[in-house]
């Protein structure tokens, strides 16, 4: 249906600005005004001609949203007045915005196409865009090059803290969806020196991890690796990256951050660091039972995170509980040369990284210890035989960083198409 209307009232003022906008009419027009959503802004548009109102009312009924092209004018910076309204398209049903409730992850994920229409989620995505832009700019300055990540491989990262890998079939052979691109980082850093990927990772998290509010089945990792680097080099780089992203977000989107997280303070590098052993003691002193050589429990990690007011490092995790690709500490092989960056206030881990094992015999021994099928790792074992450079690197969770910067309660608010743990009908 097409309605073309011209507003013909006599103007006593000079029209200073006339814009054409494409927006969704979200309220039933009444004499006086109606509401239009344009991008992340909802504006009240005045309308004076009762005929325009009548024609609009015929289109905008039953709560359906109507996409319209409007010619609007601003008089001396005052109200926005519709001069001409043209209906472009009309929805069939009223949008069920009441389902866009992040405290109900299944309904929220199913309605992600609706959430992104709302100013709140558009602002979050804009901030995420600045985070990605800032990270890319920083890494470019540091001499890293961006590579495009693979999506499937014969074997992905087996060290997933209780999550499962997803499998698929390619020409009759079992493949895995990338749960992390660790092996690809090692071979590319070996060839190119400093590399990074913005990679999608898929992990079937236990459904109960929905309760942590910080797990997603499909998430995005800024994955970087540098040949010849040490864990100290990477921790310094990680600190500068986090602080830089924070300042860039405040610079470019200060008003959005003020709305979501008015108390945000960008952390000053260098960040505090504690060893895994100290973290275990701390978790216990905070009332969270924690094994000596296992992983920190989700609750333990959260308790420690709440104990700090700035991001901090946990270093030297037990080698038995972590991936085969970490380098054991030559001084004490029970622990790795690795690190996690923990965000304060219960936001938890955002960076996981370390120095990599690059020697064939050592990797083979670790894979055998884990009982992995070696044929799935054949290509990587071949690469190790040819020779890989010692390297270090880390992965930074983009959705988790977005959640922290904007102080979001749920990580599934920090992505356009979330898949929270345990949810099966998300798009």
């Amino acid at each position: 249906m097409l309605v073309s209307l011209f507003f013909k009232s006599l103007r006593l003022f000079t029209v200073l600005v006339v814009h054409e906008i494409l927006g969704w009419i979200t309220s039933t027009p009444r004499v006086g005004s109606f509401r239009v959503r344009v991008g992340d802004r909802e504006v009240r548009v005045k309308v004076r001609d009762p005929q325009v109102v009548k024609l609009l009312q015929e289109s905008v009924s039953d709560g359906v949203e109507v996409l319209a092209k409007l010619k609007v004018s601003n008089l001396n910076g005052g109200s926005i007045v519709a001069e001409d309204v043209r209906v472009v398209h009309r929805g069939m049903v009223s949008p069920p915005y009441e389902d866009v409730d992040p405290s109900v992850p299944a309904a929220f994920a199913k309605r992600s196409y609706l959430a992104i229409r709302l100013p709140r989620y558009q602002k979050i995505l804009k901030v995420q865009h600045i985070i990605l832009k800032s990270a890319r700019r920083f890494l470019e300055e540091e001499g890293f090059i961006e590579l495009l990540p693979p999506v499937i491989s014969t074997a992905s990262d087996p060290g997933l803290r209780g999550a499962q890998k997803l499998k698929t079939v390619l020409y009759g052979r079992e493949y895995e969806l990338m749960s992390s691109i660790i092996m690809f980082k090692q071979v590319t850093a070996s060839a190119l020196g400093k590399v990074y990927f913005i990679a999608k990772n898929v992990r079937e998290e236990p459904p109960e991890n929905a309760a942590t509010w910080r797990h997603l089945v499909e998430f995005t990792q800024l994955d970087l690796e540098q040949a010849g680097a040490s864990m100290e080099d990477m921790m310094r780089l990680g600190e500068r990256l986090i602080s830089r992203i924070c300042v860039d977000v405040l610079s470019e989107a200060g008003s959005i951050v003020r709305e979501f997280n008015p108390g945000l303070e960008c952390p000053t590098p260098p960040f505090k660091r504690i060893t895994f052993r100290e973290a275990v003691q701390l978790a216990r002193s905070l009332g969270e039972p924690t094994p000596d050589y296992g992983e920190l429990t989700q609750k333990g990690e959260e308790a420690i995170s709440k104990h700090f007011s700035e991001p901090f490092w946990i270093v030297n995790f037990p080698s038995a509980s972590r991936g085969f690709y970490y380098l054991k500490d030559p001084q004490d092989p029970r622990y790795n040369r690795d690190f996690n960056l923990i965000l304060p206030g219960g936001f938890g881990e955002v960076i996981d990284g370390g120095e990599r094992e690059y020697r064939y015999e050592e990797v083979l021994a670790r894979l055998n210890e884990l009982g992995e099928d070696l044929s799935k790792y054949a290509w990587f074992l071949d690469a190790l035989k040819v020779g890989l450079a010692p390297s270090a690197g880390f992965g930074l969770g983009i959705e988790r960083l977005t959640r922290y910067i904007l102080n979001l309660r749920y990580v599934w608010e920090a992505t356009a198409f979330p898949k929270p743990p345990g949810v099966t009908d998300a798009p």
């Binding site: 470019e252 200060g254 303070e265 960008c266 000053t268």
Partner: protein, 169 residues
């Protein structure tokens, strides 16, 4: 400005604590001439003042940043860019919760104002961006450039133009 003026300026840029009598001895001119010239250079606004050159890094400033501001123009803006620059300079000189803005330059190009900002820590910078700059209605957007290294460490005196020509010969 003649050759004697240039020599006086250069000597004072090297050491502003030189007395007129010492300058007279170095430049082999009567003390009264030197005094008269110094007075003239001050009156004409060539010499703006005599002050200590301090090291900001020793005064509790740990970071230096250049912050670029894009200013909203038109009917919504109450203040123009010069007024905004003045306001920022004044506020940052009087308020203890803000970093110190040494200079605010109105510039051509993508941005309108360039601030040279001395900062104690990132929390102070965060507050400046979040609770000060982004609250100025006329500021449409900002971009922050952290200084990794400043060269030279001690501010370089600006030589009189004639001196440059002389050196070029």
């Amino acid at each position: 400005m003649d050759e004697l003026d240039v020599k006086i300026i250069k000597a004072l840029q090297e050491n502003a604590r030189l007395k007129a009598s010492e300058l007279a001895r170095i430049l082999k001119r009567p003390r009264s001439t030197i005094l008269q010239r110094m007075e003239k250079l001050k009156d004409e606004g060539v010499i703006l003042g005599y002050s200590a050159v301090v090291n900001p890094w020793k005064l509790g400033y740990n970071y230096l940043a250049y912050i670029m501001l894009r200013i909203r123009r038109g009917i919504y803006a109450r203040l123009d860019q010069v007024q905004i620059a003045k306001k920022i300079l004044e506020d940052t000189s009087t308020r203890k919760d803000l970093p110190y803005v040494e200079e605010a330059s109105i510039v051509t190009g993508t941005y309108d104002i360039m601030l040279k900002v001395w900062i104690h820590d990132w929390a102070e910078l965060s507050k400046f961006l979040l609770n000060y700059l982004s609250k100025i209605e006329e500021v449409a957007s900002t971009e922050t450039f952290m200084v990794l290294q400043k060269l030279p460490e001690k501010p370089k005196p600006i030589p009189p133009r004639g001196d440059i020509i002389e050196q070029g010969k």
